[in-house]
Amino acid sequence: MKQITIISGKGGTGKTTLVASFAVLAENKVIADCDVDAPDLHLLMHPEIVNKQEFKGLKVAEMDKTKCIECGSCEEACRFNAISITDGESAYAVNPARCEGCGACVFVCEQEAITLKERVSGYAFISKTKYGTMAHAQLNIAEEASGKLVTVVRNNAQQVAEEEGCELILIDGAPGIGCPVIASLTGVDLALVVTEPTMSGLHDLERILDVTRHFGIGSAVCINKYDINEENSKRITEFCRQRGVDVVENIPYDSVVTEAMVAGKPVVEFSDGAVSDAIKNIWKGINSSR
């Protein structure tokens, strides 16, 4: 079984647009949306949820104010600034958005006023779509542990792929280079990096390629909207050549991409044209090189 992750470093370069189209073009695959804090792929795949799992991430400290004598030792022990007396309040309180559930406050509290509680930090889903089975998730807002939820999604996808005898897992990654991105990259066969011909795109491409190299993951690059600045596109191509990374094919700018999104459809299904042709070529290209 092969796994391909589509990532970008910079946000908004077209990861989800590409993944949705690949979902149309690829056969015998499972789709996984690993952007768990701002997932968008479902807006094009229209999944029908068949399985919903609670995701328990980090624990959270809970304070019994009746036992608290306001000694302040919890505030002092907490390195995440999650416990304080907020303006206008008279007692110590835990800010769950900052609490990382370490338990240092529980340990130092002599009044046993604080306990660690499990919390539901989000949900993982397995869904049917007209394009195949999809594993996805939604992290609750203001939660930590997005990397762990990404791993849950990937495990779900792998399990489904084994049960259904699928040969491919198609993974939509998150922007950035941090925890959730690394979790979406570990052990995959190919990272396809979507970039755009802007100085920011180039800067962020460099960093994400450093990450894939760091973890020893084979990478290929495609430049989306390459014609908004062809000079920069050349620069990116040259940069990739020097790094020994393939540039598979470039996609032109076309308002049809947004129109397809508004229609809730993958662009290759929505229209024929230069964008769809380019995406089909990319798909062919990465399959022949795999």
């Binding site: 624990k59 390195r79 690394i182 795109g201 999104m261």
Partner: protein, 288 residues
């Protein structure tokens, strides 16, 4: 005053708004808290005056006093420390640096060592008008939040502070926006833009930070973001029409207010809207 610029969805124009707003106001400090992929410096072209490493703490075991009792391992919520018969293993990428292992150790055998997670750079924009501080997360590093916290320690209370927030809705976003007086949410009028805007709005409501919306690339997509803002009573602070010239300046790393100075007034106007709505709020609250 601290203004953060956030979005939920990536690539909607946070950095564009942060940088162009900064160039439209006097006495500004920009903090780029998108430490995974910082971009503000591409546009502000700072002369770097200082770079310092950012650290978290990881446990270090003193084997002369360790008796392998295993209390550190059972206390650790992240499974970052494992005690074997004659060895203690620490997994730095799992460690949150909370210090609990060192607190619980009956032998006092655990001290803490700094571990570099990234660097913080400081400088002034090319023309000297803007102070810039930005964090750069090390490659392969998972702990973005402590670096963001350390970037924010550089806040200059004498200045109007503009924070460029990472995309998403998870902990790095909270770390970046918390403590802001106001948040500008940048979105694009598309289904993806709207879905992620709703998530970002939820975050700000949980954090009780007042906010308004800037619609970037106006004219593409549909009207649903506008309908949503109207239903929810969210002020639309500014619309930036999709414009090939603006896209071109962006691609070159040039803040478009430099090329189109008439936009400075519009950006500065965002702060005017914030001030009047805040005044309005104070007035109505006083009346109650």
């Amino acid at each position: 005053m601290i203004i953060s610029v956030a979005s939920g969805k990536g690539g909607t124009g946070k950095t564009t708004v942060a940088v162009n707003l900064a160039l439209s106001l006097p006495n500004v400090q920009v903090l780029d808290c998108d430490v995974e992929e910082p971009n503000s410096h591409i546009f502000l072209k700072p002369k770097i005056e200082g770079t310092k490493p950012a650290h978290t703490l990881i446990p270090k075991v003193n084997y002369d006093s360790c008796d392998y009792c295993g209390k550190c391992a059972s206390a650790c919520e992240y499974n970052a420390i494992v005690v074997l018969p004659k060895r203690v293993m620490v997994f730095p990428e799992l460690c949150h640096g909370c210090g609990l292992c060192s607190m619980v150790c009956p032998q006092d055998a655990i001290s803490e060592d700094p571990r570099e997670i990234g660097v913080i750079k400081k400088g002034k924009s090319g023309d000297g008008s803007i102070d810039l501080v930005y964090g750069v997360l090390n490659i392969g590093e998972v702990m973005a939040t402590p670096l963001i916290d350390q970037v924010k320690e550089e806040i200059d209370p004498e200045k109007t502070v503009i924070i460029d927030v990472p995309p998403g809705t998870a902990c790095p976003v909270i770390a970046a926006v918390q403590g802001s007086d106001y948040c500008i949410l940048v979105t694009e009028p598309t289904p993806f833009g709207l879905y992620d805007l709703r998530l970002a709005v939820e975050v700000l409501r949980v954090l009780k930070i007042p906010f308004g919306v800037v619609i970037n690339k106006a004219g593409i997509g549909d009207r649903k973001v506008y309908d949503y803002c109207e239903e929810e009573g969210i002020p639309i602070l500014l619309e930036i029409a999709y414009d090939k010239m603006i896209a071109r300046w962006y691609s070159e790393g040039v803040p478009f207010v430099d090329a189109m100075p008439e936009w400075k007034e519009r950006f500065a106007g965002i702060i005017g809207i914030y001030r009047t709505t805040r005044l309005h709020k104070i007035n109505t609250e006083e009346r109650k």
